[in-house]
Assembly symmetry: C2
Homo-oligomer: 245 residues x 2
DNA sequence: ACAAAAGTGTTGTGCGTACACCCATGC
DNA sequence: GCATGGGTGTACGCACAACACTTTTGT
């Protein structure tokens, strides 16, 4: 189909996925040890190359699916990374995506079968190339988006407790929240449905389970209502003069 | 330098620039009529292709410079656009950047020499390919960023009046602002320096000129202070289910 | 009975919002 | 002298932040 633009350079285009999960009260990333040169054996994001007949979004979903077996996942483009020497293997433009997934046992096992591991963002190892930069930017994007959109639920099981939800928000925005204010604020939205069941995993008393009312949320969105959780959406980073957003 | 990844597809990578300016009380875009096929003669963003030995950021700056002659411009990456058929000329990945520039006479003349025109965002013509989508996303990004960062000053002359600044913010957030509240809020930041001079262009009485205190702002940023202008940062768009941010 | 986590209301205050009149100047 | 746009202060109400005790149940 190339009929025009013949005289211009062509480039490898890669996709890299920053895969967020929430488990054991910690925000985690799914990382893997690279299985090929260059940088074989070092920690890396899950990545792959763009094919001729797939869009960027499709390629990102394909790559996420390869590692996790999951589809229909919350996934957003983060940014393109295009420094000339970012990948020592070859000039490669990488488009990074971040994904939010609900970790469960199946995913965990499948990921481990691929040599992947869930690692807390508090204990990240050094990553290859510019992957650490991607992770940093993904965290900033996650924080900003959390203050505009109820995306926390993408990281929790369908049924979750309010203490769990609060703990997740505390991880994302890196500060303690007041239990009463948090519950009031989140319940006021009317987007949580209280269930009859209790979860007794983490306390003797047990905490009521809730689920997120996606239908109601979508109807709010259609009406143009804005969901705003008042949460620190991220500090300006010292010396952050990058041209990247 | 390609030593690895030989078996993967290579792609054309384009850059497209959404160039914002503010003039005659309106937010404007610098658009041009395409000079080559396909879609010759139609309205388009300024664009170009990524070369072998330049980063994405560098290429975007080069392309902006070609059209405007300007460098050291406020410019941020918006997003990569990668639908398979987005450009009928050939499979092309486009990375869009938005730029904020201070329109002055010189720029205007140079732009016109290239067949470019400043067009109000209220009167945009249809654009080629997915360029209208890019513009829409750039506007959303501009609105969000305006609420987090004092970027309005990038669109005004070095010396500007408060009525001018207010008018700019009103254009960006699409609502009338109260004069007294606006002035109070913006002056409270301590980031504006009042000059002795007045601008008499737009009123008999004349309005005092101010300049933005970049040094003070940078020192605030270093200290981690957050600049927050309380302005509508953009509505959720109905049916906006794109995977793109 | 005690430890550990869940659940529940009230009060003060600071910030955002609403609002109306005088001033300076050119024509 | 009048029309045009620039400049200024206050009062109210609401939404956010701070805060402590009771309940349940497993051991």
């Amino acid at each position: 189909m190339t009929r025009y633009y013949k005289e211009y350079d062509h480039h490898l285009v890669a996709l890299d996925c920053i895969i967020f999960g929430f488990d054991e009260g910690e925000l985690k990333l799914l990382l893997l040890k690279r299985k090929f040169e260059p940088a074989k054996g070092e920690w890396s994001l899950m990545g792959g190359f763009l094919g001729k007949s797939e869009s960027l979004d499709e390629a990102a979903c394909r790559i996420l699916n390869q590692l996790t077996g999951l589809s229909n996942i919350y996934m957003k483009q983060l940014s393109a990374f295009g420094d000339v020497d970012r990948d020592p293997g070859a000039r490669t433009i990488s488009v990074a995506y971040y994904a939010l997934i609900k970790i469960d046992e199946n995913d965990r096992l499948r990921a481990e079968a691929h040599g992947a591991e869930w690692i807390s963002i508090k204990r990240l190892p050094p990553l290859i190339f510019d992957h650490s930069l991607m992770v940093e930017k993904a965290l900033e994007a996650l924080r900003r988006r959390t203050s505009r959109e109820p995306i926390g639920f993408e990281l929790l099981p369908v049924k979750f407790t309010l203490p769990q939800l609060q703990s997740l928000y505390e991880c994302i925005c890196r500060e303690q929240l007041d239990k009463r204010n948090f519950r009031k604020q989140i319940l006021e939205t009317g987007l949580l449905v209280k269930l009859e069941e209790k979860d007794k995993e983490s306390s003797k008393k047990g905490a009521f389970l809730y689920k997120f009312d996606h239908k109601k949320y979508n109807s709010y969105v259609e009406k143009g209502f804005l969901f705003q959780l008042k949460v620190k959406s991220g500090h300006i980073i010292k010396g952050n003069n990058s041209i990247l957003d």
